[in-house]
């Protein structure tokens, strides 16, 4: 599974993307796994209300299932326009 990070999530974690193996069934489980890895992940995922997630390039909720998903992206609320 590909993980993508944007904006300050990318900066806190220190990389724009990585490939991982995971048994997580939902986004929330994946976030728990990542938080447990290292402080920089714990810092990036400290407050989920300040984060958004997209599964295969569609916005999703944190309780969404990961079955069949190839690309998970984490980022702050968007500020385009």
């Amino acid at each position: 599974m590909d993980l993508l990070y944007f904006a300050w999530v990318r900066e806190r974690i220190g990389l724009p993307r990585e490939r991982i193996d995971t048994q997580a069934a939902t986004v929330a489980e994946l976030v728990d796994e990542l938080r447990a890895r290292e402080d920089r992940y714990a810092a990036a995922f400290a407050d989920l209300s300040a984060l958004r997630v997209a599964l295969d390039q569609d916005l999703a909720d944190f309780d969404a299932p990961l079955a069949g998903v190839r690309e998970v992206a984490f980022f702050p609320p968007m500020t385009g326009g």
Binding site: L4, F6, A7, W8, R10, A54, Q57, D58, L59, A73, F75, P76, P77, M78, T79, G80, G81
Partner: protein, 146 residues
């Protein structure tokens, strides 16, 4: 319908002029242009990051929603990413409709959704260093009227 995501500056005058031009069945054209704003004179520039692939997909989805909801003859969305200076144009939307209310509402709808649902992030740099622009509650609130 045309969706453009580009690093290069775009020619607003030429785009506005060409949009829906030659159409005799559209009475109303609305354009919106967003520019890098420096309210306090302390901004050096802005950098916009985006999510290639998802960006185009999100903008197309938003434009399709507008077309399904209002009677529109055409829709244009152009959005830049990368570095920009104060006063530079970041993006534009344009809508063409037989009647003005449709053109206005669709353009406002496009902007409200683009602001909060298209994966762009702004980082400002200025005299006080660099900072990511925070999303505004009022932008999220603006979606509720649609």
């Amino acid at each position: 319908m045309r969706i453009v995501v580009t690093e290069a500056p775009f020619d607003f005058g030429a785009e506005a002029d060409a949009f829906a031009s030659g159409r005799t069945d559209m009475g109303a054209v609305v354009t919106f242009t967003g520019t890098v704003r420096d309210g306090t004179g302390t901004l050096a520039g802005m950098e916009i990051e985006h999510y290639p692939g998802m960006t185009e997909r999100a903008l197309e989805k938003i434009a399709e929603q507008a077309r399904a909801r209002w009677s529109l003859g055409d829709v244009l969305v152009i959005h830049r990413y990368g570095r920009m200076a104060p006063g530079e144009r970041i993006m534009m939307v344009a809508t063409a409709a037989p009647h003005r209310r449709d053109a206005f509402e669709a353009a406002e709808f496009l902007m409200d959704y683009l602001k909060t649902r298209a994966p762009f992030w702004k980082k400002e740099s200025g005299t006080a260093g660099e900072a990511w622009v925070a999303a505004k509650d009022e932008d999220e609130d603006a979606l509720r009227r649609w």
